[in-house]
């Protein structure tokens, strides 16, 4: 299997700096949640629903200074090629959940919603690489849909290194064979709010991988922004007609 051909094509025919097909929708579940979103990043598919800000069920969750963010992550048994039962207490899941909670604690204006909880439910329908990135993007969109005040978009993407060349937005097969860097970028800046690298890359190559990943996440931000604006226009045109 050739991950990156001499002609510069990858397994799925992309070039090194191309992202996978990115589809997103917001307000997919208007009746059952305050904010919802659905994203497809290649074959990684995630549904996200946001409830709140609302009164916490447990007293202990209430913080007098800011909102508490609670993330629930459910990975469907059928999300990978091999059907597999997954427990929520698996270390990898707990790690991902905590990472997301802490990332969004900083990008949501939590101080505006004291004594409340914002509950985020994630459902992973299909996994094909870049799961953490997909989850982050889904949460960002759902929070925007819920009207929760945020400083800016958090757009996440993965990038990897094949030999010497950095590759953007890895799919599942590429992720198995390459070290993968996941980053979450605040808006159009170069500020990283999320960072995760699990395998070795040479230190001197970090800069090139980081640069392409930042460029990629700006692209994702634009795509998400388009969807939010499109949805906003539909809503406002409805208002005019009534």
């Amino acid at each position: 299997m050739e991950l990156y051909s001499p002609e510069g094509l990858r397994l799925d025919g992309r070039r090194w700096n191309e992202i996978r097909n990115f589809e997103c929708r917001i307000n997919t579940h208007p009746n059952s949640s305050d904010g919802s979103s659905y994203i497809e990043q290649g074959n990684t598919k995630v549904i996200c629903m946001v409830q709140g800000p609302m009164e916490p069920t447990l007293r202990s969750q209430a913080n007098a200074n800011k909102a508490t963010i609670e993330v629930n992550l459910a990975v469907a048994n059928f999300s990978t090629l091999e059907r597999k039962k997954r427990s929520k207490s698996e270390k990898r899941m707990v790690e991902m959940k905590t990472t997301l909670e802490r990332t969004f604690e900083q990008s949501v204006m939590c101080n505006l919603y004291p004594r409340t909880v914002i509950q985020i439910d994630l459902h992973v329908l299909s996994q094909d690489g870049g799961l953490l990135a997909g989850l982050t993007n889904a949460i960002t969109l759902a929070l925007i849909d819920a009207g929760v005040a945020m400083y800016d978009y958090v757009a996440a993407i993965t990038a990897g290194l094949h030999d010497q060349s950095p590759l953007l937005d890895l799919n599942g097969l590429e992720e198995l064979d390459m070290s993968t860097l996941t980053i979450g970028v605040i808006g159009k800046s170069e500020k990283l709010s999320l960072l995760m690298l699990e395998d070795k890359i040479p230190l001197d190559r970090l800069e090139s991988v980081l640069a392409i990943a930042i460029a990629g996440s700006h692209k994702i931000r634009d795509l998400m922004d388009n969807e939010v604006r499109r949805h906003g226009n539909i809503r406002s045109s409805k208002l005019v007609n009534n």
Binding site: T98, T103, E190, L194, L195, P202, L203, L206
Partner: protein, 307 residues
């Protein structure tokens, strides 16, 4: 970790004001780690106690013979157990594994196990039948911040210190004899590289908006935070490197965002400390070996030297 332990506002302000004027409360430089003090067991192989400032931990390596996983018949087993109990700090929960504890354990495991720092194939005895299973037990005895760096350093030290009993295969590969350490010199593990974790904590002296939107990077970063510094930090990042200039792991679980340039700068700056800590492990182990050699009078056993 329970939430109801908060630093008083006075203490917090005092601490932050000191940081702004470039002073850390324990008079270290911003990018200075605490000096690790190492106690290696003289009697057994693979027991190490580490004092990282007042953060204390004990590491124990043990080996047993097991059957390998069926899909990996040539590879030995390697496990790291992280024990964080309320002994180290009353606010750590004894029963339940809180999120912080899982994160600490995960990061240490990713740094050492996932990066293949231990050569698993060298642990194979008979393919598909018998392999060595190396277990590292990491017990934290006292908590004063920075479990991750100290834990990673301690485990690597213990792996270097550990020796597994020599074995010989008899009956054409059917049986094995495990030789007692007093009977035959035990063999050290083959450690391929030494990952070193460094944790940087971030503080934002300005307000939130200036951090997110501003062009100026006035965030303060501290290496190797102690407990007070850790309780007050607004974000942290763990960078794991080895002396071959390989980046093994990066982990930033939330916290205030940092600029990409700062990240690069920190990683490059870390190399110096990584080199020093790696050197320290090698040096301490070498000295210890020499002492043991003298003590046991191993020279008497060596044949061939005079021939």
């Amino acid at each position: 970790m329970s939430k109801n332990i908060e630093v008083s506002t006075n203490e917090k302000t005092y601490f932050l004001e000191a940081l702004k004027s470039g002073i850390r409360l324990d008079s270290r430089a911003f990018d200075e780690i605490r000096q690790p003090e190492i106690t290696l067991s003289k009697k057994e192989y693979g027991y190490v106690e580490l004092d990282w400032g007042t953060t204390k931990l004990a590491v124990r390596v043990s080996a047993e013979i097991r059957k390998p996983y069926e899909d990996r018949p040539f590879e030995g087993l390697f496990m790291i157990n992280c024990e964080i109990s309320s002994m180290s700090w009353p606010h750590f929960d004894n029963q339940k594994n809180s999120n912080d504890e899982v994160l600490i354990a995960r990061i240490i495991e990713k740094a050492i196990r996932r990066s293949n720092s231990l050569d698993l194939e060298s642990l194979c005895i008979i393919a598909g039948e018998k392999v060595w299973c190396i277990t590292v037990d990491l017990n934290f005895l006292n908590y004063d911040g920075n479990f991750i760096d100290a834990g990673c350093f301690g485990v690597m030290l213990a792996l270097h210190h550990f020796k597994k009993p020599d074995i010989s295969i008899v009956n054409g590969g059917e049986d094995i004899i495990v030789h007692d350490v007093n009977e035959r010199q035990p063999v050290p593990l083959s450690v391929l590289h030494v990952p070193v974790c460094l944790t940087y904590s971030f503080y934002n002296p300005g307000n939130k908006e200036s951090n997110l939107k501003g062009e100026d990077d006035d965030e303060i970063y501290l290496l190797d935070a102690n407990l007070l510094e850790e309780q007050n930090r607004e974000g942290s990042i763990v960078i794991t490197l080895n002396k071959n200039r390989e980046l093994i792991q990066l982990s930033k679980n939330g916290g205030i965002p940092i600029n990409a340039n700062v990240l690069l700068e920190l990683s490059f700056k870390s190399m110096k400390i990584v080199d020093r800590l790696t050197e320290k492990i090698k040096e301490v182990i070498k000295k210890h070996e020499a002492e043991r050699y003298e003590e046991l009078n191993l020279r008497l056993l060596e044949v061939g030297a005079d021939r």
